[in-house]
């Protein structure tokens, strides 16, 4: 390969420090979303809310928080370096794939008498995603 290739411009730089900050911000916002979701669920179940607009607003709160989580995640991915992106891709594959097949699979168990699963079954996705991140971090440590 010619030495002139050495002068080829490099790719846009990733900034690991900034990426780390984005990772922490993402973790914080995700935790906030979880708190809002649990709080909203409890409030709605408690039936303390009088009928009207308020229950709808409470139900919408986690959706609004989720938008912030998604934006933070997209920004984190944009600033992550290529290995971190690979780890995320593999974790997302495990989380999405595992979650999808678990939900589909459990629906058959429900038909043959297993207790009906609520929205709690969807927690399989983030749990498997987190497992995927841990496995990736361990593999490329």
């Amino acid at each position: 390969m010619s030495k002139t290739l050495l002068a080829a411009p490099s790719e846009p730089c990733e900034a690991p420090g900034r990426s780390r900050r984005r990772e922490l911000l993402l973790a914080g916002i995700t935790l906030l979303w979880a708190l809002v979701f649990v709080g909203a669920t409890r409030l709605i179940k408690s039936e303390l809310l009088s009928p009207g607009a308020l229950p709808w607003l409470v139900a919408a709160a986690p959706c609004v928080a989720a938008v912030f989580v998604l934006v933070a995640y997209m920004r984190f991915l944009r600033e992550a370096d290529e290995l971190q992106r690979l780890i995320q891709l593999q974790a997302l594959a495990l989380g999405f794939g595992g979650g999808f097949f678990t939900i589909c699979g459990y629906s058959l168990f429900e038909r043959v008498g297993a207790p009906p699963a609520g929205v709690e079954l969807a927690t399989v996705m983030p749990v498997l995603y987190a497992l995927g991140v841990l496995l990736g971090e361990r593999r490329y440590r």
Partner: protein
């Protein structure tokens, strides 16, 4: 694919963190490339070559290839 990253880094007395800073990637990425757990993309390989002032093939070697 093998590479001479660890040797080149040692010749310059650089830590993985220092090389990571030069390359604008995480230390984990430098370590994964060094240990052969991860093969870098072509743009990153170019950046590595640029940082060491060498050609890519002087750093990265095919498994059956001898270092030049």
């Amino acid at each position: 694919m093998r590479n001479r990253l660890k040797v080149l880094r040692a010749e310059r007395d650089w830590t993985q963190a220092r090389l990571a800073q030069e390359l604008d990637v995480s230390r984990q990425t430098v370590n994964a490339v060094e240990t052969g757990k991860y093969d870098p993309s072509l743009p990153l390989a170019f950046r590595i070559a640029h940082v060491f002032g060498l050609a890519i093939e002087e750093i990265f070697l095919d498994d059956g290839e001898r270092p030049r």
